[in-house]
């Protein structure tokens, strides 16, 4: 009974919904501030994402004419729940170690749910531009999933004995040094960062929500609290993906003593790399994105996998 209550608290407060939402929103501030500095601007104050969130919660929800109401409103919540579970799994595997079974396949599966939620929500909104966004998002998911999975399984191949459990990977790295020290895992890390760019729909792969042609595409018809949930899911993804990369490639999260500072530095470094790629690249077309992911990126990922099998 207490463990059930503990799991519910884990899901809702720490390290689940509340914690991930707060840190995720702060991370979007880092994103906006770094973007502003790159563009030689000052940028918003630190509380800006929280003000946006509060304002959106207080606004009216407009349901478009002809939309499927249930699917339209429930799809973003599915994405929010999925990303919360992923964050909880990652943190519990890092904090509790062997006591918690976190499975990497489950993480990969749950990380696609936000994209699927956006596809369902956009398709239910009966807006032609949102439908175009949904179809592009579908193609993008098909494109980046293959190299992403190969990149993550490169890390699994390096762990001895081979394990899919998150805590096993963290413990292996604690015993023998970080996986990022290997050539194969450096390649896998680069591939994973590129796929994270597409997973977050950041430029150069913001094709589903292209602001200038599709007017925010998949998010177009969302307003008020529903839009707040969509933005929150994106913010939490921006928090969860770097945490995943730190967990499986870079030694895991340490929250005691100087290790906490080192963890924060690692986290901010990965976020800054993602934001700098976002700010220095133009948007590509969907066919170019699919060709890029199935061509060079998959080849790179396979080379990393082969190196890992060869023992490098």
């Amino acid at each position: 009974m207490t463990s059930t209550l503990g799991m519910v608290l884990n899901f809702l407060i720490f390290p689940g919904l509340l914690f991930t939402a707060a840190v995720g929103l702060l991370t979007t501030w880092v994103d906006r501030k770094v973007s502003a500095r790159v563009q030689w601007r000052v940028g918003p104050p630190w509380y800006q994402p929280f003000a946006d969130f509060l304002k959106l919660m207080g606004k009216e929800i407009v349901i478009p004419e002809g939309a499927k109401r249930t699917g339209f409103l429930l799809a973003p919540l599915a994405g929010l729940a999925a990303v919360t579970i992923v964050s909880m799994m990652l943190w519990l595997a890092n904090l509790r170690g062997a006591g918690f079974v976190g499975d990497l396949v489950g993480v990969i599966y749950l990380l696609t749910i936000p994209s699927l939620g956006m596809i369902i929500g956009a398709a239910a909104s009966s807006n032609p531009l949102a439908s175009v966004g949904a179809s592009r998002e579908m193609k993008l998911v098909l494109a980046y999933e293959l190299p992403f999975v190969i990149a993550i399984f490169t890390a699994v191949t390096k762990v001895v004995p081979m394990t899919l459990r998150l805590d096993g990977i963290v413990q292996y790295q604690a015993a023998t040094g970080v996986l990022l020290g290997n050539a194969s895992c450096i390649i896998a890390f680069i591939v994973a960062i590129l796929c994270a760019q597409a997973k977050l729909t950041y430029p150069p792969f913001d094709i589903p929500e292209a602001e200038t042609e599709l007017m925010d595409g998949t998010h177009m018809e969302y307003s008020g609290a529903a839009l707040a949930v969509v933005k929150l899911t994106q913010a939490m993804m921006l928090f969860t993906l770097p945490v995943l990369f730190i967990t499986i490639f870079w030694g895991g999260l340490v929250v005691t003593g100087w290790g906490l500072l080192y963890t924060i530095v690692k986290y901010l470094l990965i976020v800054t790399i993602i934001v700098l790629i976002k700010n220095t690249n133009p948007r590509v077309r969907i066919d170019q994105a699919v060709r890029f992911f199935w061509g060079p990126v998959t080849v790179l990922a396979i080379i990393g996998m082969l190196l890992a099998v060869a023992g490098l």
């Binding site: 906006r32 502003a36 563009q39 030689w40 601007r41 000052v42 940028g43 918003p44 104050p45 509380y47 800006q48 929280f50 003000a51 946006d52 969130f53 509060l54 304002k55 919660m57 207080g58 606004k59 009216e60 929800i61 407009v62 602001e211 200038t212 599709l214 007017m215 925010d216 998010h219 177009m220 018809e221 969302y222 307003s223 008020g224 839009l227």
Partner: protein, 137 residues
């Protein structure tokens, strides 16, 4: 209520609606977002969809053709939503007030919260108008 109002004041998302203007006010509006003025410091940003908007910036003389679209866009915007008439044409009709295709200024069709005159208004004037709008909220 206090927190909601604070959030609204700190994060105004503008939707830009051209109701038959000559594009001059629109360019000045975009100037506000450039590094020199950088209104994102105050949480103001442009959004692409009217469903995300808090403020409708209506520029241009309202032509007869555009009146139904103007009213429908206003109705689709989630409330609370403020409306700003941008430029001399939006406020009064300007030099087109006797035109055959002029359907009356913006406030004849939808309620307007703030007027920013000028042909075109300078970015400083637009920021000043938005500050006055914030004082009204």
């Amino acid at each position: 209520m206090g927190a909601k109002n604070w959030g609204f004041k700190k994060s105004l998302w503008l939707f830009h609606l051209n109701a038959g203007g000559c594009n001059n006010c629109d360019i000045e509006l975009l100037d506000c977002l450039c590094p020199k003025f950088d209104v994102e410091r105050f949480g103001i940003k442009l959004v692409g969809s009217v469903k995300h908007a808090d403020v409708l910036m209506v520029s241009g003389v309202v032509t007869r053709k555009v009146v139904p679209e103007l009213i429908e866009t206003y109705e689709q915007a989630p409330k609370p939503c403020a409306v700003v008439a941008l430029g001399a044409c939006g406020c009064t009709g300007g030099i087109f007030k006797d035109g055959y295709n002029f359907a009356g200024p913006v406030d004849k069709h939808i309620p307007v919260d703030a007027y920013i005159p000028g042909c075109p208004p300078r970015p400083e004037a637009i920021i000043d108008g938005v500050v006055k709008l914030l004082g009204k909220l």
